[in-house]
Symmetry: C2
């Protein structure tokens, strides 16, 4: 039995941060009832590319969820959602703060009908503070939160991370909060509200940039792909244009590398004797290394350095990632038969548990696929009641 089996989650989230959180909960056994707008559903259903008319974006992060369409712009639709929440363990939402309150479904409203509810809110700036009501965008929080200012090829060349880490880390921290609340409730019987902000999460993942700034007074800037203090420790372009990354952390590896490179004399060169020399003479050693790497193709370098025990990898484009031997051995690429779309690939959960392994149970649902089933099984509605709801255009 999976860890979260038996936990019922009403999922009002859309697009990425919230759905990423509820995907983790669903991966490990929770029943995720995803409320979607009739006709259009989660906004991400409109994001291409498409496979047989179904959105790849939507399918990649909405597995293990049931889709029920309810019109929450209709007060009777909200009544229906509230009926469901009354019977649930958890609500997860990622609306702009204030939205749920307008619908009569803020935390204070909901604990009147379900006193020990766990309410998980994931928003751009949080449910408190002067920016609380601002709309959330991944690019805005990446910019405001500092990570862009330390990512790039050099000082001032601020670069956005190409995956929406603003949304995704918020999804991760929200899942952490959700499971901590569940764990605590198992002991005390009490619920609470979890309030996670994308901006806060950006601050939390800056590693030691804050400490470095506060201690040294130097404002951290992008440093390209180099390691802060180890050399050589970056990517190089090979004869065939491929890029490989090497990580030479000590002199033993430096020697092995130079043997593969057929440049043993460089090991005796006092300018590069120790790591601090190599780092200090970076401007001298870099062109030498650039030249060395142009001697072989990417595959030749990779094979030879792996054989020699020197840490190396291709700077992998996505095609290389999905065919990587280790990635496949770890079962990280799921191949799923999606309704309508057909065979579809997505990343699996990286949380591997020896006894209660989570992962794919059901594919991402078509819009409203589970509306009737959920109304019958979760709320005990009759066929007639469901018909009425349809006629009133609530579903």
């Amino acid at each position: 039995m999976l860890p979260l089996e038996g936990i019922k989650v009403i999922d009002l989230t859309r697009v990425l941060s919230g759905p990423y959180c509820t995907m983790i909960l669903g991966d490990f056994g929770a029943e995720i009832i995803k409320i979607e707008t009739p006709g259009t559903g989660d906004d991400s259903r409109a994001y291409g590319p498409y496979q047989n008319g179904e959105s790849a974006y939507y399918m990649s992060i909405n597995r293990n969820k049931k889709s029920i369409t309810i019109d929450t712009r209709n007060p009777k639709g909200c009544d229906l959602v509230r009926e469901m929440i009354a019977k649930a363990d958890m609500v997860v939402e990622n609306f702009k703060p204030g939205t749920m309150e307008k619908l009569g479904m803020g935390y204070e409203d909901l604990i009147k009908i379900n006193p020990e509810l766990i309410y998980v809110a994931c928003s751009g700036f949080g449910h408190t503070g002067p920016f609380s009501k601002r709309p959330a965008y991944d690019a805005i929080v990446q910019a405001m939160g500092g990570i862009m200012s330390i990512t790039g090829q050099g000082p001032g060349e601020y670069t956005r991370v190409g995956a929406s880490v603003g949304d995704i880390t918020a999804g991760l921290f929200s899942a952490l909060g959700a499971i901590l609340a569940l764990y605590e409730k198992q002991k005390t019987g009490k619920g609470q509200k979890v309030d996670v902000a994308m901006l806060d999460c950006q601050v939390a993942i800056l590693e030691n940039a804050i400490a470095r700034y506060c201690v040294s007074g130097e404002i951290p800037q992008p440093k390209g792909n180099r390691h802060a203090s180890l050399t050589p420790f970056e990517d190089f372009t090979c004869k065939d244009g491929e890029k490989v990354m090497i990580a030479i952390g000590n002199n033993g590896l430096w020697k092995k590398f130079l043997t593969v490179a057929d440049r043993p004399e460089l090991y005796e060169d006092p300018r590069f004797a120790q790591n601090k020399d190599r780092t200090g003479n970076y401007e001298i050693i870099k062109p030498i290394l650039d030249e060395i790497f142009l001697m072989k193709t990417g595959q030749e370098w990779y094979d030879a350095l792996v054989e020699a025990g020197v840490p190396v990898t291709f700077v992998s484009t996505i095609d290389k990632v999905v065919t990587n031997d280790q990635v496949l051995a770890r079962n990280m690429i799921l191949e799923v038969e999606q309704p309508k779309a057909g065979l579809f690939k997505m990343a699996n959960t990286p949380i591997k548990m020896s006894r209660t392994q989570g992962g794919l149970r059901t594919p991402a649902p078509l819009l409203g696929a589970d509306t009737e089933t959920v109304l019958k099984e979760f709320l005990g509605k009759t066929e007639e009641e469901i018909e009425n709801l349809k006629n009133e255009q609530i579903l």
Copy 2:
């Protein structure tokens, strides 16, 4: 009472991925007993910059932990660690796979002395698969895992994320696995092994890059700071060299922006009428926008656009992050009195819980500060036994 109060964790982790995980557990109440090498301790104690001789890196991610020095290169040291593990709920380690087995402390060894132990392993490539025994480096997994191939100013300009997201996301997923295992054990009484790989986590955070590639056949490349389909949605340089990021997601915001920019005629321009036109004519609109932004300073743009309700931010360097009104209102910057180092700033937990809020309980410890206390309270050692351990150079 905090959620994880009463949970005893033996922490064998070093540097970043593992310590980040155990910091989360400690933030929410677990007792973290950090085993460090006598004399040197966690490798990160040697990473600068320093404040009064103490490492800023170490201090920023090791709060809420107790430091005990035990020499695990000495078999008697391992015996002592095993004694502690026998009485603990959880072990967390981030060694290269095989290391714990060599010390007689692999999962299979430990469940002989503590059958329901939760064992959390965080490694570069995981405890299974052909790359399992390779050493873990953040740069290597960022390169191998694909995120570098979609981050950068343009095709082929692969850029490493400036924070060690390879380590940090692994720390997050490890914490998720740890708490899921704790939750499950609360129900069943059974432990298990959690095996998280940095590489797997990179694959899991690629957002929809995998789906996009598999559906369209196009290999995703870096796209600079632009949004994939919305325009304008990126950063611009202002009169004073500051960079601001704007996020114009719809025509309402486009109109407001043009009013602030004093360029109302552009709203009537058919080339830029709808978002798809602006995106389609990016090469034409970009220089116009560049010119517009040079008309005001960063602060002028920020103030005017916030007033108008247009999503905007500075592309914040770290100094702006730690003084940001919202960041401070959310209590995201902790000011801690560190032993020896003095007053020190670090990021707080972004997981805000209404009833059982976690955060700072004790500052990052000096090396071995808790050795005697832990031996007495946790293992019931006498003064004499402790003296003997010292004489045998185990501590």
